[in-house]
Amino acid sequence: MPTLFGSAIKRREDPRLITGAATYVDDVKLPGLAYAAMLRSPYAHAKITRMDVTEARKAPGVVAVFTGADLKDKVAPVPCAWNVPNCDLKVPPHPLLAHDTVRYVGDGVALVVAESRAAARDAIDLIDVDYDALPAGVDPEKMAQPGAPQLHAEVPNNVAFTWVVAGGDAEQAFTDAEVTVKQRIVQQRLLPTAMEPRAAVASYNRGAGQLTLWATSQNPHIHRFLCSVMLQIPEHRIRVIAPEVGGGFGSKIPAYPDEALVCWAAMQLGRPVKWTEDRSENYKTTIHGRDHVEHVELAGTKDGRITGIRTKVYAGLGAYASTAAPGIPTILHGLVYSGPYQIPNILGTIYGVYTSGTPVDAYRGAGRPEAAFLIERLVDIYARKIGMDPVEVRRKNFIAKNQFPYTVATGLVYDSGDYEPALDRALTILDYPAFRRQQAEERKKGRFLGVGVISYIEICGLGPSQVAGAVGFGGGLYDSAVVRVYPTGVVRVYIGASPHGQGEETTFAQIVAEEFGYPIENVEIVHGDTETTPQGWGTYGSRSTAVCGSAVKVAAQRVKEKAKRIASHLLEANEQDIEWRDDAFRVRGSPDQKKTFAEVALMANVAWNMPAGVEPGLEASAFFDPTNFVYPFGSHACTVEVDVETGEVKILRYIAVDDCGPHINPMIVEGQIHGGIIQGLGEGLQEIAIYDDDGQLITGTMMDYAVPRATQMPHLELDHTVTPSPVNPLGVKGCGEAGTIASAACLVNAVCDALAPLGIVHIDKPVTPARVWAAIQAASSPGNGAGHPGIQPGATPDDAAQVPGAVGAGKENPQ
């Protein structure tokens, strides 16, 4: 039988997904089902002065209308579950329905339950609410200044936390630096846009006191716990099922009011209730990503050695602290400021700021793309200032292969890495010297070509649990698997992770089938139901294969060990004389004496002839808690042409060389890398959530929010290196977020490289035609660019430089 581990077999979940035979939450139909719709605030910040639901209650088909007053003191607020320590975190309560104040457009005000979705929607329009508008604001930097609109009485200046990461002595490094560069970078708000919006169906069995929630969840066990907190019912009375989930990208990690409200309504009404978002609702109420305003600096020597990074970051949290929000711009961002480089001195100050926008939480990469973007931009700006090839600056500062495990200045210990081969491979595929020659030639003809080369690391495979506890994460970060072998030898594997597009029904089955010498058809992966699967912590942070996949591997090994004991008993041989060869247990020296796994499975399950002291049955569970994170890495290269007349950016080539350790299924890895890169290119090229000054989301539909289309994206040229991780038995790292972490920076570096002859140092993403054109205008007429958002003109590279030590509270140069 061919080796399954490492084989690019097709995804087993796809036939049902692409033929419409899959069951998503909205496909769940129950007898007596009622439908919920939410009245949402049209104001970003307002007092509710009066609410009248009389007409709505009388409308045809309406079963019930609930308001904040109905829920008060009967349910708990939406919890924030990442209590980052040592940062004076302030988490004001986030009620399931606003009772007196609304704090973002989309904040829930009332819930209507009706006999049909249409009747529920019609009744929404009959609810009469009077609002007194209050001042609002969405810019995280402005909202942290004295005099900004105050959003929560208990949070002065809207600053939810001030978190500092420090390693070495950054202040000294900047004082002593031969060269420093400084840049203000805005990392725009993004809308995660999972293809399936959020949905929930709740059903309450009054007799058993048992609540069942079907939900669009990346982590049903976490949602079970969070629902138990909000609804104040014991955890074991709640069953959460995540059936097919159509993408998450982080947006289906958090607890939201809506799912809990549907549960509450089902319990009150004694009948099942369904709620499904539409896209406009999704854009207003499902979490957003990124939203940083950053002032970042790099110190270095004239010959290209980076000596320090210093940042001041205003991270927008939106109106409330979402489930994991405090951990994203801190633990998952500030701790990785080293990237793949040896940077001895790091100082980051992160302000978490409440604004009048939709709550911000984890979005593909979650904190790490923002870190990679600022580092990789700074490295390019620095390289240009010292007149060195940006590729050489990277190479010069890489952590060397023989330094692993390597402790960076922020205290993280990188597990393994070998950065130069990936960079070399990317440059070879591109033919970097040839492109530089072509670039110079074309420039003479008036064409503006550019190349961006970036190197990144990712921190993923989240655990270990001990670290989770130390950084205030309100849960564990191990994961689990139960491998159960049926009498006929078929296998079901119950996992704690909750895949929703990552292909683990295929890759995890490959792990088990490989272990048992089985055709993959004999192995089925079961996930997404708290009633059948062991406690797990969900699928996010590129963690499932490294952590849950390892649990699967360990559980399968345990099953195999027991099978070996039984086989030795059946073969009447010493266990030491049994070997696993050619897909069977064989007696060493007499290979014809053998038992296949299926034969052993049958005997274990009927238990007619068990070894003394061995229990019947053949199953095992494993809880795998890694000893460290894993740190995938890679180098990407992108070439672009900028039409300087229209500002349009055309991507010519995109090359990615990633290292996520061994590939269980190279096709699935490739798919993950593809998706990740495209999502990052969307961020770099065209995606931006825009609010007006009153906190109205202008990009509230797909007519204005530019999710990348296949026709807008380049062909991707992929390659990889393989550096196993020592921290898990599979040696695997993560690949789900790598592309997103790398590609936005890679693209913007290429665009800035193309426009370097015009003196342009930086353009904030997304590099839309209008922004690129405005940057060109500003560069060609100094002083003109100040009014353009996202444009950083720089007539000469020196304009990007900064006198050492000039940045500090209150005397900042708003460059």
């Binding site: 979705r117 249409a118 929607r121 797909m702």
Partner: protein, 285 residues
């Protein structure tokens, strides 16, 4: 995503359709539904009744008409793209249509729907203007023929009366040897034009004898550019083209939005006009 309740009527004859429209009570005509249904789902439009004309055979199809062509109003984008007659006589239609929406949209969206909807950034109105199209409309009161340049009145506003139905589009033959081009820069999310230009030019010997450009996506309504008159009688030297292009937005109240501030859009329109003219000239005999 759920519209207010409405009555749905499917027309089985033109006569019945016109009778329903004559009621004058806010009935909206439904063809491909790609513009109307989304605004109804947002409840921005709440018509009491939809009249579906997609099944009326007499409104559909492409035929030769006095060396030009006649296109039925409910002819889909896909049918436009598949028409050899149009590709041969009016290649600009395919050049414009192949970038509209995606495959599903092109399978259902109709030329008449786009024209009657008159979105200020949609592609087709500018092509109709550049081709000097005539729209035949009919009501219970009678028939009318409206020139494209008199038809588009403002954003989502046309000369069509509430009881009138657009029957077909008549395109006169292009000048002999004419070259055409449609060029637009699309807004990345919607695919609508940030600025789009449809150009038709012809030369007699080496002198420009015909030069028409229509712009879409720039002002409140698609419109013909006056400055291309400057080209007629010239040899279309680069500086002449540049001058005509630079003046192409004169008199247009250029719209600004989050995707294209007005200063950028004005500049973009001028670039696109120049490039459309250059391309059309390169294709002219």
């Amino acid at each position: 995503v759920i519209p207010t309740s409405f009555e749905y009527l499917r027309a089985t004859s033109l006569r019945d359709a016109l009778r329903v429209l004559a009621l004058g009570d806010g009935t909206k005509v439904l063809a491909g539904g790609h513009s109307l249904l989304p605004v109804m789902k947002f409840r921005l439009a709440q018509p009491p009744r939809l009249l579906d004309v997609a099944g009326l055979a007499e409104l559909r199809g492409i035929e030769e008409h006095r060396k030009g062509a006649r296109i039925g109003a409910t002819t889909t984008y896909r049918e436009l793209l598949e028409s050899d007659l149009l590709r041969e006589r009016f290649p600009i239609i395919a050049e414009c249509t192949e970038h509209i929406g995606d495959l599903q949209v092109r399978n259902r969206g109709t030329i008449g729907g786009s024209i009657a909807h008159a979105d200020p950034a949609s592609d087709m109105p500018s092509v109709m203007l550049a081709l000097d199209a005539t729209f035949n409309v009919r009501s219970k009161r009678g028939r009318r023929a409206i020139k494209a340049r008199e038809f588009f009145r403002g954003p989502f506003a046309t000369d069509l009366a509430e009881d009138e139905l657009l029957l077909d589009v008549v395109l006169p033959a292009l000048p002999r040897g004419a070259g055409t081009a449609y060029l637009s820069q699309e807004q990345a999310a919607s695919g609508y034009a940030l600025a789009g230009a449809a150009a038709v030019v012809a030369r007699t010997r080496k002198t420009v004898s015909h030069a028409v450009v229509a712009l879409t996506g720039v002002g409140e309504v698609a419109r013909l550019v006056a400055s291309t008159d400057q080209l007629v009688g010239t040899k279309a030297e680069p500086e002449v083209l540049a001058r005509a292009a630079a003046a192409s937005t004169d008199g247009i109240e250029v719209q600004g939005d989050i995707h294209a501030p007005a200063d950028y859009r004005r500049h973009l329109a001028q670039v696109i006009v120049r490039r459309a003219l250059e391309t059309a000239l390169s294709r002219a005999a």
